[in-house]
């Protein structure tokens, strides 16, 4: 009787426990974040922005680099129809992109047939080189877009297949060289977002490794590593970076870097990433210091895990919460810094576009004679809205992951 009753209670408890699902830290944080409307709206906007930025070549936008100095300078926002490749100066067949593509492909096909029919290897080589050079210079895509990568190239092809010669009218107006501002804002978003993400990742990798290693090993290593951080902290980095850029922009230095396959944007990521890791390393070190005497680290050491394995396998995953909180605060400041440098003419250089560069163009175009408000308002609005959303999301994630930090600055 007694055992029967016990059994029943046990079974009841068992069923109950099966229905209870443990809530992990991440689920808990996600639930809390979901209840924060400002953060969720920001998140939606940012995801939308990221998707649009990735898919930019696929969208029926006008060319971001095709200039029209005769008829389209400083057009205010309008709904006038625009045909891709319709500018007379381009001398495209039929005055359309598709027409020119057909003509060009036919020409290349002719050349390819010629290539197949010749047997002399030297002649063949010359012909093949000629075809490559023609594609490089004369392909309509290379006249409409700037240095497309393979993926973007494919997306542009899909776009032509999907939309033909249709292009969205100049909803944001055009700039001082007659380029469509809407297209430029979209292409600029790609650069700005990539700089934000890549530079943050660089800072993440350096900062987390540095902080975790200093915190775990402690003693002399810790002291030395943290003194270096202290020292770097006291250097006014923005000024030093601007100073650095003066060297990196020197023609001879540029050529040297180009020859090892590093272009300016890559350096840009590195430089920005390399200066934003300091706070990250301090934060991670503090967390690791409090974690390293915990039992799970002790037991990992007992079973013979190497120090590096302990640091990166056992300690780093446990400080991820703090790292993510700090990460969401780093992305906007990195994007801001990129815009800041590009605005000063020291960052991304034309024909690449970024929001900072667009704003710089916009401010230069401001004059008393006629107010071209659209060249400032749209890029500035895009940058401000993105930073705004990132800030809100960052605050939201901080509150969600660590409720104790709520309302603190």
């Amino acid at each position: 009787m007694n055992t029967e009753a016990n059994r029943e209670t046990l079974e009841r408890i068992l069923v109950e426990s099966r229905n209870i699902h443990g809530v992990s830290l991440w689920q808990d944080a996600w639930n809390r974040l979901r209840r924060n409307p400002a953060a969720m709206i920001s998140l939606t906007c940012l995801v939308l922005l990221a998707v649009l930025a990735i898919l930019t070549p696929l969208l029926p936008l006008q060319s971001p680099i095709d200039k029209d100095l005769n008829e389209r300078r400083f057009l205010p926002p309008n709904l006038g129809t625009v045909v891709m490749g319709g500018r007379p100066g381009l001398k495209f067949a039929d005055g359309t992109l598709t027409g020119e593509l057909d003509r060009f492909n036919a020409e290349i096909a002719d050349l390819a047939i010629q290539l197949q029919s010749t047997s002399d290897p030297q002649q063949r080589q010359a012909l093949a080189a000629g075809i490559a050079a023609r594609i490089d210079i004369e392909h309509p895509f290379n006249q409409m877009w700037n240095e497309l990568g393979p993926v973007s190239w494919w997306m542009c092809q899909t776009r032509v297949a999907l939309f033909g010669n249709y292009a969205i009218p100049s909803l944001f107006g055009t700039d001082k060289l007659g380029r469509d501002l809407l297209a430029r804002v979209f292409w600029g978003a790609r650069v700005s977002l990539i700089v934000g993400i890549v530079a943050t990742l660089v800072s993440l990798i350096i900062g987390v490794s540095w902080g975790a290693i200093a915190g775990y090993f402690g003693g002399m290593i810790d002291a030395a590593m943290m003194r270096i951080v202290d020292m770097l902290y006291s250097i006014p980095f923005i000024f030093v970076v601007i100073f650095l850029v003066t060297f990196l922009g020197e023609d001879s230095v540029k050529k040297k870097l180009d020859s090892i396959g590093i272009d300016q944007i890559t350096i840009f990521y590195m430089v920005i990433g390399a200066i934003y890791w300091l706070t990250m390393s301090r934060v991670v070190r503090g967390q690791v210091l409090s974690l390293r005497s915990e039992q799970f680290i002790e037991s990992a050491r007992t079973v013979g895990a190497s120090p590096m394995r302990i640091v990166f396998r056992h300690l780093v995953p446990n400080v991820l919460g703090v790292v993510i909180v700090y990460l969401t605060l780093t992305i906007p400041s990195v994007m801001l810094f990129e815009a800041f440098l590009s605005f000063l003419g020291l960052g991304v250089s034309p024909p690449d576009v970024s929001w900072g560069l667009l704003l710089n163009d916009g401010v230069e175009a401001l004059s008393i004679i006629k107010v071209f408000w659209w060249v400032v308002v749209f890029p500035g609005g895009a940058l401000a809205a993105t930073l705004f959303a990132l800030n809100f999301l960052g605050d939201g994630i901080r509150d969600a992951l660590d409720p104790r930090m709520k309302n603190r600055d």
Binding site: F243, L344, G345, G362
Partner: protein, 309 residues
């Protein structure tokens, strides 16, 4: 007093160390660029090139150059000659630009503190009111919008559309107001948030309750017993605020075409005027160090619990 002296010495030592590191790195970079600053220009007669090299001390061996410049800076505060601005020494350029930048920065900081603290106090005292929500939303906006976007929009609005302010120039209060406003606004937003948090924390303290209990009017309680304590985080933010205003002035001086240190620095960078750029970096480092030390000292004087380290 002993504390203070030790602290100042320690800070000075750090500053010297930092400056030396910045100088060394800059010097190595400067030397690692192939050729000399004049090799890119149209070719000059050998005699003139010799003269140029002698003037910029480029004919000495690198170590000697490193040492000479260092001695010049330490003993005579001489930062050398600008390579692009003819007949200007770096010191002259800084001496011309500094008053402009300093005026702008002081106006911006004063404006930021006044606006930020007022907004913070209002939104903390009338917590959860419409004013609070509006002010704090404005603060988030102010933090998120970069000051060069703000400045561009401000020019568009207040210079071109509603013509209140002049488009450029320097000297009169009207000409200073708009740049200082754009420079100070983001800082004001930060200060508003900090002082609001500080106020809310102070409002729950026992001594404030006592002050209310003994019948002091609300105004006196807030101004005498709450505000002083709530200002501590604001004071400690002033160091970063100075840094922010200085970096912000780089872009604002460019936008408003002001002849300050910032625009000289940017010009030096874009025109590859190495000596001027290096002199500027060193000057900015000193400025920030001094300002930070001053802020820390003020903090220690205001709050006796803080020990100078």
């Amino acid at each position: 007093m002993r504390d203070l002296l030790g602290y100042l010495l320690k800070r000075a030592a750090w500053m010297v160390l930092t400056l030396w590191a910045v100088y060394t790195v800059s010097f190595v970079l400067m030397r690692s660029v192939p050729g000399n600053p004049f090799s890119g220009e149209r070719s000059v007669p050998p005699a003139i090139e010799r003269q140029l090299k002698a003037r910029y001390n480029l004919d000495a061996p690198p170590l000697q150059q490193y040492w000479d410049y260092l001695v010049g800076v330490v003993t005579r505060l001489d930062l050398g000659w600008s390579t692009r601005l003819e007949d200007y020494s770096v010191n002259q350029v800084i001496a011309e630009g500094f008053p402009v930048s300093a005026t702008l920065a002081i106006f911006a900081l004063v404006f930021a503190i006044l606006l930020g603290v007022t907004a913070g106090i209002i939104s903390a005292v009338y917590r959860r009111s419409t004013a609070d929500h509006v002010l704090m939303f404005a603060a988030v906006l102010g933090i998120a919008i970069p000051n060069f976007v703000l400045a561009s929009l401000a020019i568009l609005l207040f210079v071109f559309m509603i013509q209140i302010f002049p488009a450029g120039g320097w000297g009169t209060l009207q000409q200073i107001a708009l740049p200082a406003f754009c420079l100070g606004l983001p800082v004001a937003a930060y200060i508003a948030r900090l002082s609001r948090t500080g106020m809310l924390e102070m409002l729950t303290k026992d001594h404030v309750r006592t002050a209310y209990a003994k019948g002091l009017p609300k105004r006196t309680v807030i101004l005498r017993h709450v505000v002083p304590g709530a200002m501590l985080p604001v004071v400690s933010y002033l160091g970063p605020a100075v840094a922010r205003v200085l970096t912000g002035s780089l872009v604002l001086e460019k936008i408003f075409a002001l002849p300050g240190m910032g625009s000289h620095f940017i010009n030096a960078a874009t025109q590859r005027d190495y000596t001027l750029a290096m002199g500027m970096v060193l000057t900015y480092t000193v400025l920030l160090f001094v300002m930070n030390t001053l802020v820390d000292l003020t903090y220690a004087i205001i709050d006796p619990r803080v020990k100078l380290r």
